[in-house]
């Protein structure tokens, strides 16, 4: 009997603690929906817009607690299609291939407005048109993925086929292979390898090559590149969630386009290998603050002006920093060129049809499908 009171007190405390535990955290954090966002490759500066959206709280403002997850694209597609993930980055060709094989996924935001593949060739090499590549040795990472798809589309747009070239599989080593003269041109990502080769050429570390030019696929035709995809069930049954995700993603892209210095600084939290020496950080911090002030004072600044500011920023940076230090920032700027458009995230039917035609020509898919069902612009933020 003597022990009953302390036990009662203890039970009472336990109940009180449980009640507190149950009700206390019912704040802002619990209102967020947990979402794991599937991404390809590894953390790198080309995902700067997502890092920006995270750091600036756009996802949490949209009620989403976002965790990033990297992996192989087909795995991500299956996870999304099976409903184990609701969102991820999936390229247009994969959306079509997945749908052709029974995966109910749908693109809701076309992040890359231009396909990032092209063919790099040395300046002063006598190559002036794509037709000049006939019979030449052209390197390609392999007969797979976006590089191969982009090449087939680029050749088709110039009435050529793979057999017109001497294709050589070189892995993702275009700068090394080109600089030793083993290939005369190479299929590359326009945001990356041309910058690397140019930097090496400027250092006199690229054989006879003094500089390079690029045939960009997007100058001839366009395929659908990276998009934000979800599954049909989520798109149909949880439109608010999709809307929130798309809006946050869009704000991140918009923010990175308008203020790349800020996006670069925010990305440093996520990209371990991002070069950010103290002097560069100081420079970019000042540039980011100045740009933020400009945007505040000029909320309607148009694309061309902002693009000029990006070019000016790069020019100023190049006066003070060497090419290696700036390479990742240049990759960010080159990526921004591929995201930027009058309406961010907008999907064009013609691009999807061209993508399908290319995939059929490659034998990647066998039958035509209704490509208009593979994407929707319904969740894009309303144009201001």
């Amino acid at each position: 009997m003597m022990r009953a009171a302390p036990i009662r007190s203890f039970v009472g405390l336990l109940v009180l603690a449980s009640l507190l535990f149950a009700f206390a955290p019912a704040g802002a954090q619990d209102e967020l929906t947990d979402q794991t966002f599937f991404m390809t490759f590894v953390p790198n500066i080309q995902f700067a817009s997502i890092y920006t959206a995270l750091e600036k709280g756009y996802f949490s403002d949209a009620g989403i607690h976002l965790t990033m997850e990297h992996g192989d694209e087909p795995v991500g597609v299956d996870l999304i299609a099976a409903g184990q993930r609701q969102f991820g980055l999936v390229s247009g060709e994969q959306v079509l291939a997945a749908r052709a094989n029974g995966r109910p996924i749908i693109s809701v935001y076309e992040w890359f407005q231009k396909y990032p593949v092209g063919i790099v060739y040395p300046e002063n090499s006598g190559i002036e048109t794509v037709a000049d590549l006939r019979g030449r040795v052209v390197g390609i990472p392999g007969r797979f993925g976006a590089s191969y798809t982009g090449l087939i589309a680029l050749l088709a747009a110039n009435d050529m086929t793979e057999s017109d070239l001497q294709l050589q599989e070189i892995g993702f080593n275009a700068p090394e292979v080109m600089c030793v003269g083993a290939v005369e041109a190479a299929v590359i990502y326009v945001t990356n390898e041309p910058l690397q080769i140019n930097n090496r050429a400027a250092d006199g570390d690229c054989g006879d090559i003094t500089g390079v030019e690029v045939f960009r696929l997007s100058d001839f035709t366009n395929l659908v590149s990276n998009t934000v995809a979800t599954n049909e069930e989520t798109a149909a049954n949880d439109p608010d969630l999709v809307q929130g995700m798309v809006s946050a993603f869009d704000l991140g892209v918009r923010s990175a386009i308008n203020n790349p210095a800020e996006a670069y600084l925010l990305s440093a939290v996520y990209v371990e290998t991002l070069p950010l020496p103290e002097d560069l950080e100081t420079f970019l911090t000042a540039a980011a603050e100045a740009q933020a002030t400009f945007l505040e004072e000029n909320p309607d600044a148009d694309r061309e002006i902002v693009a000029e500011q990006r070019a000016d920023l790069l020019a100023s940076l190049q006066e003070q920093f060497d090419a290696d230090t700036l390479l990742q920032f240049q990759i960010l700027l080159a990526s921004i060129e591929l995201w930027d458009a009058d309406q961010l995230g907008y999907s064009d039917l013609e691009d999807w049809e061209t993508t399908q035609t290319t995939l059929i020509a490659m034998g990647y898919i066998t039958e035509e499908q209704d490509v208009s069902a593979a994407y929707t612009n319904a969740f894009l933020p309303a144009e201001e």
Binding site: A82, A100, G102, G142, E169, G171
Partner: protein, 270 residues
Amino acid sequence: MQITMLSRQVNLRMPSSRALAPYLGLLVLLLLWELITRLKIYPEFIIPPPRAVFDTFVQTLLDGRLWTHTVTTVGQMGIGLFLGLVAGVALGYLIAKNHMLEQMLSPIIVAIQSTPVVAYAPLLVIWFGTGPTSKIVTCMLTVFFPMLTNTVVGIRSVPPSLRDLMHSLRATRWQMFTRLEVPAAMPILLGGLKLSATLSVIGVVVGEFVSANAGLGYLVKLARDSYNTPLVMVAVLMLALIARLMYGAVALLEHRLLAWQSRSRRQNSL
């Protein structure tokens, strides 16, 4: 007498039911698989029905693709396994005989052995190219270490009394090796071979996953990239079959080579 007859009858029946057990297990697995797909617990693109996998198997067999990729994998695996065995046994024997060599090499061997092959396979592709050599080397390294370890253990497990006996009979080194060490270490060597034979499949597939234009590992990757789950399963089942056949072949070899052991055990028990 009657009891002996009865036990013989029982013994005669037992192997047949035992022999049926694996097939029964396979049948249960197939039925379970069919049931899962019929109940639509998972979408078909995650777990396709057995019929779809079978159809893909027949189709790829008829169009020659399965055969081409299987031959590539088996060829690379055979060479890698052979080289890995030879290298593992040779170095293992030297280490077993030389403690100085063991002390010198064991830190390196332990370091490499404890590193998953998948971690350094991309390096092997860079060093040995995207052709078959990198797959053969990956396979070779996968089988090398278990074979090396088993050889060291096997050679060192030879009873000293038997060594003394051979010495007293003035046996030469070669006689010591062929008449004592090899037969005495054989059970452990064959244990290593059994492990290596199955691991060789993993080794070659890891190499094909990193970079390849042919082989069953490449077929898995290709099928996955083109969202053809039945084809993924066909390639995986083919790999499982190869691994099982390899294991079976070594078990058969073991049965033949160690028949003397069973005979001597029986004689001792009598």
